[in-house]
């Protein structure tokens, strides 16, 4: 037993690959077979991970030495590296395809999410600019939040809130889209492009549109692909300055 423990903590990063693989496998299985794709596997996997973090303290599950490799795999270096790599899927010609409505929806989507998130956080008692910016960024997606938070030096607690905010958005988008689709006239490619740009949370947009009308998925994904990148660009820079001016 002791030998195994020593081996695993010595090869922390490799063990983290295995742990995350098992979490993903189980979560996707539950999503497909028990929840019948009602909630995307990604959202379940992140919720499971957030629950696992409760076994530790400041560094979540990485506080247990056996799982210390998780901090390396989920650290800001590898995270930002993989976030940047997703830009490969963003074809410049495609944004032209999305047209003016797509571009407007993206800009409106990122900025309204951020500022509405900030206003709500203020009303719930948060006062410092870095925490507000991080929570506002989390209202964009679960990746814009932590990217902004670690760029600006937010606490792990606030970063956890921003991830959870993004996950709530995925779940509400997934469940809410088919229910509300008719009343917001979400029944054609044009409004699906706008929808993707406004909501931006790729997994939620894809799952929500799939449940509404599978034909709309590629149109929503078209704009949603750009959302996280745009959020990572605007939130820790322009939006953070605007907040600084207003609050300081």
């Amino acid at each position: 037993m002791e030998i195994i423990e020593k081996l695993l903590s010595k090869n922390g990063l490799v063990f983290a690959f295995l742990v995350v693989g098992v979490i993903m496998l189980t979560s996707y299985w539950v999503s497909k077979n028990i929840l019948r794709n009602k909630i995307p596997g990604v959202a379940i996997a992140i919720i499971v991970a957030l629950i696992l973090a409760l076994f530790g303290n400041k560094k979540g599950i990485a506080d247990i030495s056996l799982f210390s490799g998780m901090a390396l795999l989920g650290g800001s270096m590898l995270r930002d590296f993989s976030v940047v790599s997703t830009a490969m899927g963003a074809d410049l010609d495609k944004i032209k395809q999305a047209g003016l409505a797509g571009t407007v929806s993206l800009l409106v989507g990122v900025s309204f999410s951020f500022f509405l998130g900030v206003v709500l956080a203020v009303s719930l008692g948060y006062t410092d600019v870095v925490s507000l910016a991080t929570i506002g960024a989390g209202a964009c997606t679960y990746i814009v939040g932590p990217v902004t938070g670690s760029a600006l030096g937010a606490s792990s607690e606030v970063i956890a809130i921003s991830i959870a905010t993004g996950v709530v958005k995925v779940i509400v988008t997934t469940i809410g889209t088919p229910i509300i689709a008719k009343s917001i006239k979400l029944d054609n490619p044009h409004s699906a492009v706008v929808f993707g740009g406004l909501l931006g949370t790729t997994s939620g947009v894809a799952a929500g549109l799939a449940a509404t009308d599978p034909k709309l998925v590629p149109y929503g994904a078209l704009t949603a692909t750009f959302y996280t990148g745009l959020g990572c660009l605007l939130c820790p820079s322009v939006f953070y300055f605007i907040l600084n001016i207003f609050i300081a």
Binding site: G60, V83, S113, P146, P236
Partner: protein, 124 residues
Amino acid sequence: MTIYGVAILAFCFLVGKLIGNALGLAIGINGDVGGVGFAMILLIFSNAYMKKNGWLEAPTEKGILFWTSMYIPIVVAMSATQNVKAAISGGPVAIVVGVVVTITGFLLVPMISKIGKKEQIESN
């Protein structure tokens, strides 16, 4: 070679971060101002440029796409290593913000769709 792709990604990443940090320094904020965003823009343009010139071979592309596919697993690992205990004691912020922002987003769809459609007709 696969490593070429990883190296291109690393180059874009580091230059983007450099711009972000320089910008932070210039405005007197000790932090990285939009570095990830700049890196992504750089990668989009390098990608388009290399494709145009036929420099982007399949193995090179694979070196970048591997990291794209590791994105969600890394996000899962990141979530497992946050201070969730303290976050929960902070109250229902995440739920309130997540729900309100998403529903507002839904309600904006018909409005923005209208603006776009008008323009489309004009440009036609």
